[in-house]
Amino acid sequence: METSRRTFLKAGALAALVLAAGGGIYRATHTPGPQRFVLDGEARAALDAIVPAMLSGALPAGAAERKAAIASAVEGVHAAISNLPLAVQKEVQDLFGLLALAPARRLLTGVSGGWFNASETDISAFLQDWRLHRFALLRSAYSALHDLSLGAWYAQPASWSAIGYPGPMKELA
């Protein structure tokens, strides 16, 4: 793997500190809203960037179809999070709050220029690093992103024909 993208792995204790503080910083700098999960600004851009990397290879080829499919999967992730217990919604909120902070993003993901401009290659590289990271917190953050993205995608009937799943018996569904 390219070392340039892996420098953030050396951050060690500092990264852990940021990770621990990130959610709190995000909550402190945002007006206290409802307890339920909300996603806006850079946090929203982070999800918009991560979902296509997770679903790479499963998304339709055409540009318009691809864009619609990503939007629909992101919407599915939202819906899934809103059904989680409030304490878990807060954990997910903290994760996205952290991803929205530029210094934390650079330190923990190596993505330097903002989520909107990040390439799929860069996103995939940080996901792969988080997946096997020595910090349990980053591994479990990867796992949450994995389950939310892939779960939201394959929950949709639109994804089924590509995998040969006929769906439930129509007379009863």
Binding site: M54, A80, A87, V88, L127, R139, Y154, L172
Partner: protein
């Protein structure tokens, strides 16, 4: 639409069942009863029917909503948030194990895969020798299992196993490994394969269509979308149960409170939630046992890719098992495991299997050719397998279940056994659910590679659908918070009737163990409260 399937819940509501939906409350409420039962799953359902038939006034309180066959559309997107704890995304404290538990009227019995096993005699023997549970041997329990088997229509499955299950048998046969057929609690099953999303035809004899309707016909009251917060305890007496009513989606409180008062209280919220309720209530626990010894049958998963279609989403989900690897060592030796086949549906498979991007998408495109196999580790019989402990985090029960080397040893052996069976059955590739595993294309390769996989937290996928223990039943107070009659020690009017009673894991899918044990405990409680012989529920 499935208007042609009769819906026993809609019919019961039309008959005038007493149902209080917490989400619809516009004022606080107080209800009085002879017995308040917390939870409507296997333990709560069985208890509710027996006590109601005994003529007692029963209130059942359930955190989930009342759903029925008209709602069961066989779609994961709807079923997981509607019917499972935490949208089927409950996890242990360190997020090392995913936990599937029901949260709906009928509890996990609404979403389980219908596998029905009596408690293995070796498990009951262990409870006698290590937990002082005399009188719970196989002969003593047999009439209770027989009673509930009849009540819930447990029987041999008449159809042929689907290919997903047949492959387990075929591979095991070729290796000389004995396997058996699973009995199921179904009546008129359509062989659809969607048990995990609520039975759309009411064939599965869950609590939702059996004991709960019977209790409601007998005058019981069902309170739904209400979370049991804590018992108000005075000395040795439970005065009342305080419940928080929830909003319609079941996520947040709606500001209303229910007070449930009764002569006796039965806790049947399932493992994790039952001990958590008692912890929140500061129930007596002089030996610091409450919530401890919680077991999961930590489960490993292996995906076999076959040249032929397997269609693991179709047909009765579990019909073949093998107990061979439960018997290769002593029960208190290295971890043994039970082998079964899980049904595969797109969300369940895609989130369970490791990887992302193109690698994951390529695997998913083989979906109809994938056979799922799982190994349930029999935890709780060895000193290095103490299980987990339930703790409170912001008031909610969370299970801390550390994964240790003893368990990883079992995980590695289980992944090897499953791969060997899948190749013996004709798999062209086998992919263990593990972050650094690949699809191996021969048993020689798999054997070498799986043996070398790092078995570690978040690397090996571990899941559980069987949460047991935490309110251990034992012959004396130093080994368990609950006495052999189901009474909670130190409280005069509180019993525990659910899988949290088990002193170890079961070593088999636990539903019938819960039915049989709680039928016995509820019958004893009914006799004690009425002074009359307990009624015998009949199908």
């Amino acid at each position: 639409m499935n208007d042609f399937i009769p819906d026993p819940i809609q019919q019961g509501i039309a008959r005038g069942w007493h149902i209080v939906d917490g989400a619809a409350l516009d004022t606080d409420r107080t209800l009085e009863a002879d017995v308040v039962i917390v939870g409507s799953g296997a333990g709560g359902g069985v208890t509710a029917e027996i006590l109601a038939l005994a003529g007692l006034k029963v209130v059942i309180v359930e955190e989930g909503a009342l759903r029925s066959s008209k709602d069961f559309k066989m779609r994961e997107a709807d079923a997981y948030p509607a019917l499972y704890q935490e949208s089927a995304a409950r996890q242990t404290l360190d997020k090392g194990i995913k936990i599937l538990q029901g949260r709906t009227v009928g509890g996990s019995t609404v979403v389980n895969w219908t596998s029905s096993f009596r408690t293995p005699p070796a498990t009951l023997d262990f409870w006698r020798s290590h937990f002082g549970l005399n009188g719970f041997d196989a002969a003593a329990m047999a009439p209770w299992f027989a009673l509930m088997e009849k009540r819930l229509h447990v029987g041999d499955w008449q159809g042929a196993p689907n290919e997903n299950n047949a492959l387990l048998k075929r591979g095991a046969d070729r290796l000389g490994i004995p396997s058996g057929l699973i009995r199921r609690n179904v009546n008129g099953c359509w062989n659809l394969g969607y048990c995990g999303m609520g039975c759309p035809t009411n064939a599965k004899q869950s609590m939702l269509v059996t004991t709960i309707p019977s209790a409601l016909d007998g005058g019981a009251t069902l309170v739904t979308r209400a979370r049991a917060e804590r018992f108000a305890i005075q000395g040795e007496h439970v005065e009342e149960l305080l419940c928080t009513a929830l909003q319609a989606d079941g996520v947040a409180p709606n500001g209303r409170v229910l007070r449930l008062r009764a002569r006796h209280f039965v806790v049947a919220g399932g493992a994790i939630n039952s001990p958590a309720l008692l912890l929140r209530s500061n129930a007596p626990d002089p030996h610091r046992l409450l919530g401890k010894r919680t077991f999961l049958h930590p489960t490993l998963i292996s995906a076999g890719i076959f040249p032929q279609r397997v269609d693991a989403y179709a047909g009765a989900p579990q019909t073949v098992y093998s107990d061979h690897f439960l018997h290769t060592s002593l029960i208190d030796g290295p971890l043994g495991y039970k082998l079964e086949a899980p049904p595969l549906h797109p969300v369940l498979l895609s989130t369970t299997m490791n990887g992302f991007g193109k690698d994951h998408a390529d695997m998913m495109r083989q979906f109809p050719h994938i056979q799922g196999m799982l190994a349930l580790l029999r935890d709780g019989f060895h000193e290095d397998s103490p299980g987990g402990s339930v703790q409170l985090k912001d008031g909610a029960g969370v299970l801390d279940y550390p994964l240790n080397d003893f368990l990883w040893d079992g995980a590695r052996r289980a992944l090897l056994s499953m791969a060997e069976i899948q190749f013996a059955a004709g798999a062209s590739a086998v992919r263990p659910a593990h972050e650094t595993a690949r699809a191996y294309t021969s048993w020689d390769e798999a054997k070498r590679e799986i043996a070398a996989l790092p078995q570690a937290l978040h690397m090996t996928r571990v899941a559980s659908a069987h949460v047991m223990g935490g309110c251990t039943m034992a012959g004396d107070e130093r080994r368990g918070v609950v006495a052999p009659d189901g009474r909670y020690r130190g409280l005069a009017n509180l019993s525990v009737h659910d899988g949290s009673l088990f002193p170890t894991s079961i070593g088999a899918n636990p539903q019938l163990s819960i039915y049989g044990l709680t039928a016995r405990l509820a019958s004893g409680l009914a006799e004690h409260m009425t002074g009359l012989p307990a009624p015998r529920p009949g199908a």
